[in-house]
Every structure is written in C-alpha cells, then in structure tokens.
C-alpha cells in the first residue's frame, strides 16, 4: 500500500549548517491493512518518512508510492494525517473542526453533521461536540484529531507521534481505545512513535531506524491478534520484543548522542 524505494532526503543547508542528509537508501513496503510503526532516535528522519507518505514533501532520491501511485502532493481521498500538535482550529467547536475537515474533503453540507457526530461517538466525545478545543484536555484534543482523520474515511492513516504530548496513563487508555478502533476500521496505518510500549502494543510490524542519515536497521514482526488487550502488555512476547527493540535503540541513541557531541567538538575546532 505504501512503498518507499531506495528513498533519500537531503535538506538544503542554511547558514553555518551544511546540507543535512536526513534519510539514505530507505526501502520499505507497508502492506494493506497493516499497522506499521517507525521508531528511532530523535533526528533519525522518521517524521520525514511520514511527510513523504503524506505527500507534504518529495524525496531527494528514490520513489514513494501510495496505492501504486507516486506522491507528488497530498491525496486527501486516500490519506489522512494525525499530527502531533493536534492542529485543531481554536475558533471552531469540536464538531465544527470535524465538519471543516469534511468540507475540505468535499463532503456535501447535509451529510457533514451526522458523519462528524458518528466519529465523535466512536472516540467517546459526543457529549463535547459543542465545546471549543481550549476547554479540552490534551488526550481529548487528540481524540478529536483522530476522529477528524477517521471521518475522512481514507484507506490510509498516517500518525505522527499522536500521543507524544500526553502523560503515560492517558497514552495507555488512548492506546487501547485506538487499538479497538483500528481493528474495526481495517485501515493501513503508519505510526511514528518514540514509545517502545506503544509501538509493540499497537503494531503488526515495527521498523527500528538508525540515526543520521536515517536508515532502516531492522523490521520486527509482532505476532499477536488485534484488538489487543491490557493482558498482552504483561505477556512474554510483549516483553521480549520490547527488550529487543530497547537494545537496538540503546545502541543507536548512544551513537546518535555521542555523534552529535563529536560533531560539536569538530565545529569548535573549525
């Protein structure tokens, strides 16, 4: 469904910083109906990969396709994105935010309200339809953002650290809810996260990335049925996988942090 073929991205340098190579030689295929997570140290280009799949930017080298078609620009009929900062419009009510998305998507006015309410109910927020985002907690805002993306009824959903700004308990509850919703909706989902537990709990497969320039270090399969329950979190499989990813990431993070230090010292001398 989503395919990266030998993809590289280099950001043009600005000022004292030279050009930055964010991704190199990434080849990855995300299957239809799969929940695929990207995890890696900060600056490993995982958000860049997601932006490529969203069509919000193009690759410097290589090819990105979604549903077999190359990605020159956003394709709202195929792909919906949940952003880390929620990106809810503060001047609109909760239901108004979802309706705005449906209007952008070209849904006729008469259908918008019903459809918006249906997805608000799915995330358990129909009672807050008339509230404005400012009145909601972070977790609630993210649920509205998820409802907005789901309401677009696209086959592909991209999520950029959707629970990144939330506290641990909220993440867990939201994670369980999301796991159930996803099991219902049968979407292809690409999730960017920095939480090991989240990645293992939600994903069918997880790509562990290495730091700058970002590359795929290993792809890990999670063999457990959806929707997953809290008991899964206490299973041996869950712990083994999490420990495995932790060891991979630990090496990467050390390398990435030490690499940054070395780079800084080199600049001091220069």
């Amino acid at each position: 469904m989503i395919q990266f073929k030998d993809v590289g991205v280099t950001y043009a340098g600005e000022g004292a910083l030279g050009a930055v190579e964010a991704l190199r030689g990434v080849t990855l295929t995300i299957e239809r109906g799969e929940l695929f997570s990207l995890i890696g140290p900060s600056g490993c280009g995982k958000s860049t990969l997601l932006n490529l799949a969203a069509g919000l930017r193009g690759p410097t080298t290589g090819v990105v396709t979604v549903g077999g078609q190359p990605m020159p620009r956003p394709r709202p009929d195929t792909i919906a994105v949940v952003f880390q900062d929620y990106s809810l419009f503060p001047w609109r009510t909760v239901v108004g935010n979802i309706e705005a998305g449906l209007e952008f998507r070209g849904v006729p006015r008469a259908e918008r309200r019903d459809r918006a309410m249906r997805y608000l109910r799915m995330v358990g927020l129909e009672a807050f339809a008339g509230a404005v985002p400012r009145q909601l907690s972070g977790g609630m805002k993210q649920r509205v953002a998820i409802a907005r993306s789901l309401s677009l009824e696209t086959p592909v959903l991209l999520m950029d650290e959707p629970f990144g700004a939330l506290d641990e308990q909220t993440r867990m509850v939201l994670g369980e809810e999301v796991s159930q919703i996803f099991a219902q909706t049968q979407k292809t989902i690409l999730l960017v996260t920095h939480s090991l537990a989240e990645a293992v709990f939600l994903s069918d497969r997880i790509a562990v990335m290495s730091g700058r320039p970002g590359r795929i270090r290993e792809v890990i399969q999670v063999d457990a049925p959806h929707p997953r329950t809290p008991e899964f979190m206490t299973s041996k499989l869950f712990h083994d996988l999490r420990d495995h990813i932790f060891r991979l990431l630990h090496d990467e993070m050390r390398a990435s942090v030490l690499g940054l230090h070395r780079g800084a010292r080199a600049e001091d001398r220069g």
């Binding site: 919000l56 709202p76 009929d77 792909i79 919906a80 994105v81 952003f83 990106s87 952008f104 070209g106």
Partner: protein
C-alpha cells in the same frame, strides 16, 4: 471578576470614577475661584446649558451628519482597499515581500502632511476630508491584515491542505478566521484614526462638520461652545467604539 481586590474590575472603575470626579472638581474650582479666565475655560453650569442648547439646534445635527458621512465614506474606502491589499499581500508571498516594507515606510511618514494636497486636489468640501480620513485608515487595515495572514500557524495550513483544502477554502476557513483577531485590531485602529483625521481635517480646512464648528468657536472665543463641540465629538467616538465592539461580538460568533 467584579470584586474589591486591587486589579478587580470594580476597583478599577472606582479609581477611574474618582479620577474623573477630581478633574471635574478642579475644573469647577478653577472657574469659580477665577484662576482661569472664563474666555478660556467656561464654568460647568454654562457648559451644560450650552451643550443642551446646541443639542436642541437642528444645525448641530447637520454638522454631526456631515462628519459622520465623511467618516463612514472614509472607513468604507479604507476597509475595501485595505482588506484587498492586505489579503493579496498576506497570501501571495512574492507580493507580500514586495509591499510590506513599502507600507511600513509610508505608514511611518506623518500622513498629516498630505492634507494640504487633499485640499488642493479635491477642494474644501467633503471629498478632501474623505480622502484624508481614508488615507489614514487604510494603513492599519492593510498592515494588520497582511501581518495577521502571514503569521497564521503553519500547522493549521498543513492540516487543512492534507485534508484537501484548496486555495479558496484555505483562505475562507483557515487563514481569515485564524488571522481574525489581528485583522480586527487593524479595523479598530482604522475606525479611531479615521474619525480623528476627518475631524482634524475639518478643523484645518472645511466649511462644515463638527471639527470646523470647534475651530470657529475657539476663534470666536466662545469657550463654552468649543467645549460643547468637544463633548459632542467624544460622544461620536464613544458611539463608534460601542458599535465596533458589538460588530466584533457578532462576527466572533459567526466565525
């Protein structure tokens, strides 16, 4: 929060009321004790009587009407041209880069210098006041609209585009609502500056309008009438301010 705390709304209005009362008391003393000649400062009783008499005369409303008409026309010109320029410059990056420094540079010049030219080109009648007022009110509208649109959170735009918003919906549903408070500040400034510049224009050169009446009263050394005209102008400004707040609330709900 209308409580008797320092900083509470009630405490604030009490302080403001006391200050106003003090001004009135000093004024009263100054006239009763003859610290100031009545040719310059009228006593409060005469001022009140003059104001009542003025408000009873039909010519007064003619002059208020002239000023209101000039102000309305000036604001209409300023809003239509200012919003158009601001929206184009705020959304088309190249045009914005081109126009923003020009607008800011022109805004920094004392626009009052343009008034003699307005008289020269448009005569002593209403047209010169409308042009002068519109010129003053144009800049805050254009500059605030431009800045408001240019500083809309990139996240809103990215989200809207990813959901399929085209240029029209992006402008109407995202950019303008997001920039709305900033644009409104510009409109507010424009209304205040517009009215002030129309009145100032009338004072400098006109045949009618409240500003001209004020100048004539001062020149004739009829201080009570001069102050009465000032009070009438203040009433007009207050009315404009109140109307703006009302429109603001209505628009805020419609956003």
């Amino acid at each position: 929060m209308s409580t008797w705390r320092p900083g509470g709304a009630l405490a604030a209005s009490a302080i403001q009321g006391a200050a106003l009362l003090a001004v009135v008391a000093v004024w009263h003393l100054a006239t009763v004790e003859r610290w100031v000649s009545p040719l310059i400062l009228p006593d409060l009783g005469r001022l009140a009587a003059t104001l009542v008499a003025l408000l009873a005369r039909p010519e007064t409303y003619h002059h208020v009407g002239v000023t209101a008409y000039e102000f309305g026309a000036a604001l209409l010109f300023a809003l239509s041209v200012g919003l158009a320029v601001g929206i184009v410059a705020g959304t088309v990056r190249y045009v914005g880069d081109l126009i923003e420094p020009v607008l800011l540079a022109l805004y920094a010049i004392p626009i009052v210098m343009a008034f003699p030219l307005c008289i020269l080109f448009l005569g002593i009648g209403s047209a010169s006041k409308i042009a002068f007022g519109a010129l003053y009110a144009f800049f805050p509208v254009a500059i605030h609209t431009l800045k408001g649109l240019r500083h809309v959170d990139r996240g809103f735009i990215r989200a809207a585009v990813s959901m399929g918003a085209g240029p029209r919906l992006l402008l109407l549903r995202v950019l303008i609502p997001a920039a709305f408070p900033v644009i409104l500040t510009g409109v507010r400034l424009a209304a205040v500056l517009g009215l002030l510049s129309v009145v100032a224009g009338e004072m400098l050169g006109a045949l009618e309008g409240v500003g001209q009446m004020l100048t004539r009263s001062v020149e004739a050394l009829v201080s009570a009438e001069a102050f009465a005209w000032i009070l009438i102008t203040i009433m007009m400004v207050t009315l404009v301010g109140g109307t703006l707040s009302w429109v603001e609330r209505r628009l805020e709900r419609a956003r």
